[in-house]
Amino acid sequence: MAKTIEEINEKIKDGKVLVLNAEEIIDYVKEKGVKKAAKDIDVVTTATFSPMCSSGAFLNFGHSDPPIKMTKVLLNDVPAYAGIAAVDVYIGAAELSETESMNYGGAHVIEDLISGKPVKLKAIAYGTDCYPRREIETYITKDTINQAYLFNPRNAYQNYPVATNSSNRTIYTYMGKLLPNFGNATYCSAGQLSPLLNDPYYRTIGIGTRIFLAGSQGYVSWYGTQHNPGKERLANGVPCGPAGNLALIGDLKKMSPEYLKACTFHGYGVTIFMGIGVPIPVIDEEMIEFLKIKDEDIYTEIFDYSVQRRNKPSYGKVNYRQLRSGKIKISNKYVQTGSISSYFKALEIADILKKEIKNGKFYLTASVASIPLEEECNSLDILSKEEL
């Protein structure tokens, strides 16, 4: 029996909705079967809490007197992109401070703004008849500025590779510190809790889907950059590597630093832990087949990050149950594993979202457009105009 979003929202309103998180549903289906689960359960909450470099915020500062058309902008010494209208900027999470290098960056500016801390704004301009001011130095907080919203071009990746290092030196990567001679391996997915692994063909998650975004109610605004749904998939729909992903939008002023955390990967740079929760409506039995997925059904591929090329050598596939056990076998050697994605925080977010839905504070939305199932992911080749 199919269920509509309207019917589910009606149940939320009446306080009769049954919501489980993506971990709880596994045993529920095992005990009661797919049919009963599809009938009983209305919503399954999924979540992730991982570093997602492709994140950032649009800010509008309001106009000074006399006004300025900002051309170069620094927020706590971190450059923000000012090539939009006079006092609009985009601050990217991965941008580094001009004075503190990797110890502070765009992610920290965003976290400081969310936390209500003052942020130093410095800007210069060339001066025009309508915007005569040529420089400004002042302090802002999220309450003194106008709109401030996160617009993250690539978040919530559907699966991600495992990183290891075959070389004889320690390497510092966006997958963390990798010790020599397969000294360790790191991975980065919420696995069975992960939003796009519970809806692998984007049947319910689409453009316009309301989500939990770092403590606020945000939305899926588009499909993410490098969206690559055509990646090889297992029979259960799981792509064995980074496939689809989402572009997300949400109000910075309503976010909480509990669910968004600036961080630094030593030797690599600044990035940001994003806490994301996505409710998945149980529209039919087929949806249960996807939602019952567990760590051992989700495979990903191990790559050698010491090879500094676009295509890295593969050391085969492992599942998330093996990864979470703390060690895997690579080339006949036991290698310790560690997750960059926090399962603890993801579970916390899935439960918060569950509570909000139960308490009638979060209603589901039908998507207004689908996320493409066919999209190519191009590489950048060095070509002359004639070779294009």
Partner: protein
């Protein structure tokens, strides 16, 4: 009789010298190698506990320094700042003795101080700088 825990760093050129042997032979020290490794740039590192006469230990340290070995008192403690930690667990992959591990019930980071040998490999692996040394 005193006890001191030291981290010895051997530069590449003396990594093959029988230095610990001389600690016994010339300074009559007992030692316990808690950990030894050759780091990627081929520098040797050793966490060693020395036991013996206080003056002999001081002389031994002088000998080590003169030979080109850098001698550091071992860190007193590794501390996890739970206010900063996001429980990701990436540090558990680095921790050879598994003093750092994820609790398989609540998925939070556990730190078993007794297993920690103060190798400090974890210090620069924490994305939120929650791992610190208390000196």
């Amino acid at each position: 009789m005193v006890k001191r825990k030291l981290v010895l760093s051997f530069p590449e050129n003396i990594v093959t010298k029988p230095i610990t042997y001389r600690l016994v032979k010339e300074f009559n020290l007992e030692f316990n190698i808690l950990r030894a490794e050759i780091t990627p740039d081929m520098e040797g590192k050793m966490l060693i506990e020395l036991r013996g006469n206080k003056d002999k230990i001081d002389q031994a340290i002088k000998y080590l320094s003169d030979t080109g070995v850098s001698v550091q008192e071992a860190a007193k403690d590794i501390i996890i700042d739970k206010n900063l930690c996001v429980e990701c667990g990436v540090c558990t992959s680095i921790c050879i003795t598994q003093a750092l591990s994820l609790d398989n019930k609540n998925f939070k980071l556990k730190f078993n101080k007794d297993k920690c040998i103060l190798c400090e490999l974890c210090l620069d692996c924490c994305p939120v700088s929650a791992i610190k040394v208390n000196i």
